[in-house]
């Protein structure tokens, strides 16, 4: 049960398509779910759970962007704007119509998907650089519209206070309660993505990424699948936005500006383009990075830096490390953390006879 294969011995399409190619995959997945749903909340305290919460939310967004960027090969620099669309939609539903989270969550996602499809329209005509700039424009336009339309973003400074999610009459207030709200959504998102990318749709996406003309010739409707990729990707982004709003208790466009879009792009690049596991690695890595920098600076950095400037220096260090890591991974290891993980796995696959 705990063995790994020593080569590729798949003889049927069914075996090739399997979600878990080996029994150990199933065991490991069950183990992780148990670890996170049972062990982690009983062992860890609120602070660590809050970190897991943030990371879990980021995983959803990173998965969505990776579907677009890694699997379909279309760039979007406006993903944070889609999140804000989801966030405001959910906030409006929750505040004005008193809707529970199981309505606002898909509603935010669907609204973001609609806007995302609209933004994806230029992808039918242009690609590469032009698409990047078109989505960048979408980021600014959506931001401006949200900021200047009191109908959507009413209240003081374009922010809406969000009620806490209610689950069968229980208000989810603390981190450990929110944990059980956020983590299941993340798990569903992971499973959905894994299934999506091995399905007909996912394979069409990959075909478009690798060679769009060839994809068209083998009968894939490139236009439809590109828009579908935008829709699915921004649905994930919308859900991420809703989760953020529930988590922070406020919907505000300032939480979804251009740097957040870049954060998510960095997650996909550092984690590994075109891989579910990579998105998870990337999201966790990027979430933990600022925390590690802060801890490091507060223990070691205070020896060199005046305490007054510490917060500033931490922010600057974060930017430098961020940029440096993006460039490092692009130049040295374009397949990201996922490739490093695969290297480790391959090393142990035939260990100790690696020749």
């Amino acid at each position: 049960m705990f063995h790994r294969e020593s080569g590729y011995f798949k003889t049927s399409y069914k075996a090739d398509m399997a979600l878990y190619p080996l029994p150990i995959g199933k065991v490991a997945a069950t183990g992780f779910v148990l670890l996170f749903l049972v062990v982690a909340p009983t062992v860890l305290d609120e602070y660590y759970l809050s970190i897991i919460n943030i990371a879990a939310i980021a995983v959803v967004g990173a998965l969505g962007l990776n579907i677009l960027l890694g699997y379909t090969g279309q760039i979007s620099i406006g993903h944070a704007a889609f999140m804000s669309v989801g966030a405001y939609t959910a906030a409006n539903f929750a505040v004005h119509f008193d809707m529970p989270f199981w309505v606002t969550l898909p509603a935010g996602g669907l609204m973001a998907a609609a806007i995302g499809t609209l933004v994806g329209l230029p992808s039918l005509r242009v690609k590469g650089l032009y698409l990047a700039i078109a989505t960048l424009a979408a980021q600014f336009i959506i931001e401006w519209v949200l900021n200047h339309t009191p109908l959507i973003s009413g209240g003081v400074q374009a922010s809406i206070e969000m009620p806490r999610p209610v689950f069968f009459g229980n208000v989810l207030n603390t981190q450990s309660e929110l944990y059980f709200f956020i983590l299941p959504v993340t798990i569903v998102a992971i499973i959905a993505t894994m299934n999506l990318v091995r399905s007909r749709i996912g394979r069409a996406f990959v075909a478009i990424r690798d060679q769009d003309i060839a994809a068209e010739i083998i009968g894939i409707n490139v236009y439809r699948y590109k828009l579908l990729a935008f829709a699915i990707s921004s649905f994930y982004a919308g859900v991420t936005g809703v989760l953020y709003t529930y988590y922070f208790g406020i919907a505000n466009y300032e939480a979804f500006q251009l740097p957040i879009s870049i954060d998510y792009l960095a997650m996909c690049i550092i984690g590994g383009l075109g891989s579910v596991l990579g998105s998870i690695f990337g999201a966790v890595f990027i979430t933990l990075l600022p925390i590690v920098i802060r801890v490091f600076m507060e223990t070691v950095g205070v020896l060199f830096v005046d305490g007054v400037y510490l917060a500033q220096v931490i922010a600057q260090m974060r930017l430098i490390l961020f940029g440096g890591l993006i460039i490092f991974f692009l130049v040295v290891e374009p397949e990201g953390l996922n490739k490093l993980w695969r290297n480790i796995r391959n090393y142990f696959r035939v260990w100790p006879f690696s020749y």
Partner: protein
């Protein structure tokens, strides 16, 4: 008085637009010769300006020495950048190069204030502060200077690309790497040259903008203005950059003058992008760009 207000908006818009063109031309230069997309052009300007301001205000250098230091840094840095980061990435997908330059932009945004402090610093150029009054119109000297530098630079640049041996070689490299190699052009050397030139332009842009609005990390927002300019004008055209810059500048000024009072500010950052989206849908290669666009 209505028409005077309008004309004043347009003049200021044109001058601002020329200054935008100065930033955008660095972008075009890189794209034209190396096919790389530089999302960090605004940060280049910001960093060059920060170096000048830092040497000027923190270490008391004279202006020319500060500028020389910044120039030296930009040239050496861009040379290294091309060698270490961008050369291994030749032939990789567009997304990868975009992300690499975004990473670079982040590094600059962190490094600038870390080394030279986060306060807004002035770059006092030896020109008067008082606006030049000409009949009923006011024009600020720094805008005039910026516009002048921009036009002069574009002229030199146009000559360089059209007449000089290196410029012609650069255009050849832009057209086809393989054919240029076959004709005996050292393609890699021209890549380095293009990046170093972009560094030089960034210094000019940084100086003009830095003395106009003060130097801090906000200066990097300029980079975001580059995209409407280059898309409007055409990605690979020098004339296009000037025209695109002027259009963006005028549209910005007019929308700020006429729409802002009704919606409460911020239209300045928004209208160029709307214009750009429209152009992108109708004529993606811009007004002067070569109509080669990969269709799918």
């Amino acid at each position: 008085m209505q028409w005077q207000f309008f004309i004043e908006l347009v003049t200021n818009g044109v001058l601002t637009g020329l200054m935008y063109a100065l930033v955008a031309v660095g972008f075009v230069l890189i794209y034209k010769s190396t096919d790389a997309i530089n999302f960090a052009q605004g940060e280049f300007c910001m960093f060059a300006a920060i170096i000048v301001a830092g040497f000027l205000n923190l270490y008391g250098f004279p202006l020319w020495a500060a500028i020389a230091a910044a120039l030296l840094f930009m040239l050496v840095f861009n040379w290294g950048l091309e060698r270490v980061v961008l050369r291994p990435m030749i032939g990789r997908p567009v997304v990868a190069i975009i992300m690499a330059t975004i990473g670079l932009a982040l590094i600059f945004r962190g490094l600038g204030p870390l080394v030279f402090g986060a306060e807004t610093q002035p770059i006092p150029l030896p020109i008067p502060d008082q606006p030049i009054v000409w009949g009923p119109f006011f024009v600020s000297p720094i805008d005039l200077l910026g516009g002048g530098i921009s036009i002069a630079f574009m002229a030199v640049f146009g000559w360089f690309f059209m007449k000089s041996r290196k410029g012609v070689a650069m255009r050849a490299v832009a057209d086809s790497h393989q054919v240029s190699m076959a004709m005996g052009i050292n393609v890699e050397r021209y890549f380095v040259l293009a990046w170093m030139l972009a560094g030089f332009v960034a210094l000019l842009g940084g100086l003009v903008w830095g003395s106009a609005i003060g130097v801090d990390t906000q200066l990097a927002q300029l980079g975001l203005k580059v995209f409407p300019v280059v898309i409007l004008g055409g990605l690979d055209s020098i004339v296009g950059v000037i025209v695109g810059g002027i259009i963006v500048g005028v549209v910005e000024a007019i929308s700020a003058g006429y729409i802002d009072p009704y919606v409460g500010g911020g239209t300045k950052d928004f209208t160029p992008y709307v214009l750009m989206i429209i152009v992108l849908m109708i004529r993606p290669y811009g007004i002067f760009g070569k109509p080669i666009i990969e269709r799918i």
